[in-house]
Amino acid sequence: MVFKEIVKEELIFVQKSFKENSDVIKFLSEELRERSFVKESFCDAVLEREKKHPTGLYLGKINVAIPHADIKYVNKPGMAVATLQKPISFRKMDDPTLSIPVHIVFLLALVDPNEYVKFLSSLTRSFSDESFISLIYSLNDTERFVKSIRKMIK
């Protein structure tokens, strides 16, 4: 079951404070690395990619970012999530000249994307549901966070 494999409560961090987007990426990468989801080099690869091809998604009120890197830096698929007490600036995927305030960061560690495309697609499409995204942003309980995402993802 893909959902259980990827979404782990221990990798959800709510209402965290960071200065810059690189700080969130470093923090979440380290959490993934400690649990052997990713290789040591994953973090730098994500930071590098974010510089060249940013992943901020503008949704309106609550915005998200989905940083990730090439599959060669990943051991097993996973996802680390942080909701940010104060939004942090990310550049937009579709227009990197613009920055947007991001409230939730989904750091994706992917292997074969074809296997996980349904999960990924349902995840990214859930972003367009404003009440869902506002709800998960408001939660300060990781168990409810996982349950809420689970309801949205087929």
Partner: protein, 97 residues
């Protein structure tokens, strides 16, 4: 319309382009448009253009590309999907076929 070839472009050519490619196939099939997708990262676009009718990109692609481009996040987030499909259909029809 003959089978159309769409090149789906994103930053790494893996995660987002896979989501977009599968969604495009599903949506255009519903419209009765036969497509074939290929994926690449933005840095590889120029070498991937042979026989490509349209590029759908989630991120900016170089300006000098001769193939029509639709830049959209609609197939990722679902926001503005119908409009994006309309634009793609129009551009594919314009190419003749």
């Amino acid at each position: 319309m003959l089978r159309k070839r769409i090149l789906v472009v994103c930053g790494t050519g893996i995660a987002t382009s896979t989501v977009v490619a599968r969604k495009l196939e599903e949506k255009l099939e519903e419209k009765g448009i036969d497509i074939e997708t290929r994926q690449c990262k933005v840095a590889e676009v120029e070498g991937m253009l042979e026989k490509v009718d349209l590029i759908v990109a989630t991120t900016p692609v170089p300006d000098n590309i001769k193939v029509p481009v639709v830049r959209t996040l609609a197939f990722l987030t679902g926001i503005g999907e119908d409009e994006a499909i309309e634009e793609i259909t129009k551009k594919l029809k314009k190419k003749g076929g």
